[in-house]
Amino acid sequence: MDTIAPFVLLSPLAGFLINAIFGRQLPRRVVGWIGAGSVGIAFIFSLNLLLQLLTGAQPLDQTYFTWWQSGDFSVPFNLYVDRLSTLMILVITGVGFLIHVYSIGYMREDPGYSRFFAYMNLFVLSMLLLVLAGNLVWLIIGWAGVGLSSYLLISFWFERTSAVLAGRKAFVMNTIGDVGMIFAAFLIFLNLRVMDYRGLFERVHQLPKGGAVITAICLLLLVGAVAKSAQLPLHTWLPDAMEGPTPVSALIHAATMVTAGVYLVARMHMLYDWAPAAAATVAVIGGVTAIFAATIGTSQIDIKRILAYSTMSQIGYMFLAVGLGAYAAGMFHFMTHAFFKALLFMAAGNVIHAFQDDQDIRHMGNLRAGLPITFWTFLIGTLSISGFPLLAGFFSKDEIIRAALNAAGGEFWLGVLALVTAGLTAYYMFRLFFIAFGWEWLAHDDRHLHEAPPVQTVPIIILATGAVVGGYIPIASFLSPVFGPAGEVGIGAFLSLAALSVLAALIGFSLAYLLHARRPDLAVAWRTRLGPIHTLVEHKYYIDELYDWVFVRPALAFARFLNGVIETRVIDGAVNGLANFTVVEAREFRLIQTGRLRSYALWTLGGAIGVVVIVAGFLGYLPWRLGG
């Protein structure tokens, strides 16, 4: 295992280096297959790790080298391969590979082809590093690396101002999270003198349970997790991140990177178990974000933005789960979500291509004939995310709702929120589906829509399979060595909760069917009747505007003040004033530079005599005394 694990990282690293250095010279076909192939090879290595774990190998914590050392502070490069990180790297490389293959088709016309694949491989490398790192320093390096590659890929079409602004926004928000992470690492080192996970997990119980230190550590880690996973209140970058190419949205802003926060909490579960207040905060943030984002999703008209809010909402579910201590449920939902959300995004990408980069769902409709594969796979994804019985999303979502409803204390209302969110999820997903894909039959379909080539449809079909059968993978028992044994759920309890969640989904579905398939006039009527509420939701609760007024504008005004007053008056004034003073004074002192050698000599002689007289005076050799 210790020899296989580094190759999971080295493979995308090689792909990144080759594409970054030689990408422009290589033919496109080669670039694409290097990009996808390096991730595919990493997937094979990950499968090997999985097999070894399943056949009884012990979790690996192998130090390969010491990066640096200073006093008792040492940063090793160690990889931590247990069942949790193996599940993560399997999804990252597996779904990542499919999305890379899809990108070969999706990006084929793009002039920045090799740049795209280099960035994508850099992302996969950083994400794998984040997951496999065995100490906090390398975790933070991977954490920052995914932020960087996310920024690069959001701003991939850098000639578009909106893309550049979106990238900048994402980077700033992520940096807030990075700072939280770094402070958490400081606190951990100050109090426990460790950086590596194993030492941390061994020593964490030296801190008082629920004490200020451990709570602060967990909350600071949570800042990083919230920023990376686009949870309230650091969520506003994710919808804007949809400016990036669609495969990027699928890979980074749906399937993998945004779930890093969930992974972080799950990885640090010993810390969160030791800080109940912080864990409860995680759950509340998750539950509130879930319903918050779901409501926004009901009113958007951009196909990718709807999916982005859906992603936020689903990650909210995962946060809810890990905050409640149902870590396996959270990771289960992470996996199924990776399947169906990557599928939804890639299918949406096919639609966007078919409509010449138009993302407004009101311009779409009736895609069954034109884009049959995309149509059916998108329907599968929609059913899965809505919790249609026996599909993947049904199982994973129910586990989370069950964990919330069964929780002892005040988390019960979070479970109710989660149930309502399940209904909302069904509503906004089927609203999207009915409007964009539509059932109605156009008599004259003269749009000449073209289905995407197989390189773009086969990965979607594979993911659709995952979205159907992914719920049968026994994640809870697979992860039991990490999180402890999974609780047994009676068949009666299972069925009663399933009935509840299916009922919620059914209500959402019926509402969507009624308003957007049968009676669109009702939708219009309701929109006017809801009036201000609808406007509020449509404008995403004005959070962007709020941040704009509270943070961005004051910051800009302050910057303008610094530039206009401090910079020009104070700093330039000091520098220029010093220069002017020097010039003026030099003009006066220049007059003693007469150029006459003998006058200089006279000055020198006079000075020398003066010195002699003063010294002699001090020493008492003169009739009059100096200096008492």
Partner: protein, 100 residues
């Protein structure tokens, strides 16, 4: 042996001659010789006092002054020769190109 003040008087007289010469003469070579005169006046004072105070410190200083004077002469003569070659008049008051 003559008393110490005579040596100091001689030294002072030599130094004054050198200083006055430096101030009143304009030929660079003469100015240069005046500098040497001043330096050697000081050397005389050092050597004499060294003898009378029974200490080698003064002699060491004299050697130091001789060394510096030798180095200074090398540089100074080289500059004077270059000035002469450049065809400029041998007058220290005329050498004021560096003014301003």
């Amino acid at each position: 042996m003559p008393p110490a003040y005579l040596f100091l008087l001689l030294s002072g007289a030599l130094f004054t001659m050198g200083a006055v010469g430096f101030l009143v003469r304009r030929n660079p070579l003469v100015v240069f010789m005046c500098i040497e005169l001043m330096l050697n006046a000081v050397n005389l004072a050092f050597a004499a006092e060294s003898r009378f105070l029974n200490s080698l410190d003064g002699v060491v200083f004299a050697f130091l002054v001789i060394t510096v004077a030798a180095a200074e002469v090398v540089v100074g003569i080289a500059i004077i020769v270059q000035v002469y070659r450049a065809g400029r008049q041998m007058d220290v008051d005329g050498l004021d190109l560096m003014k301003e």
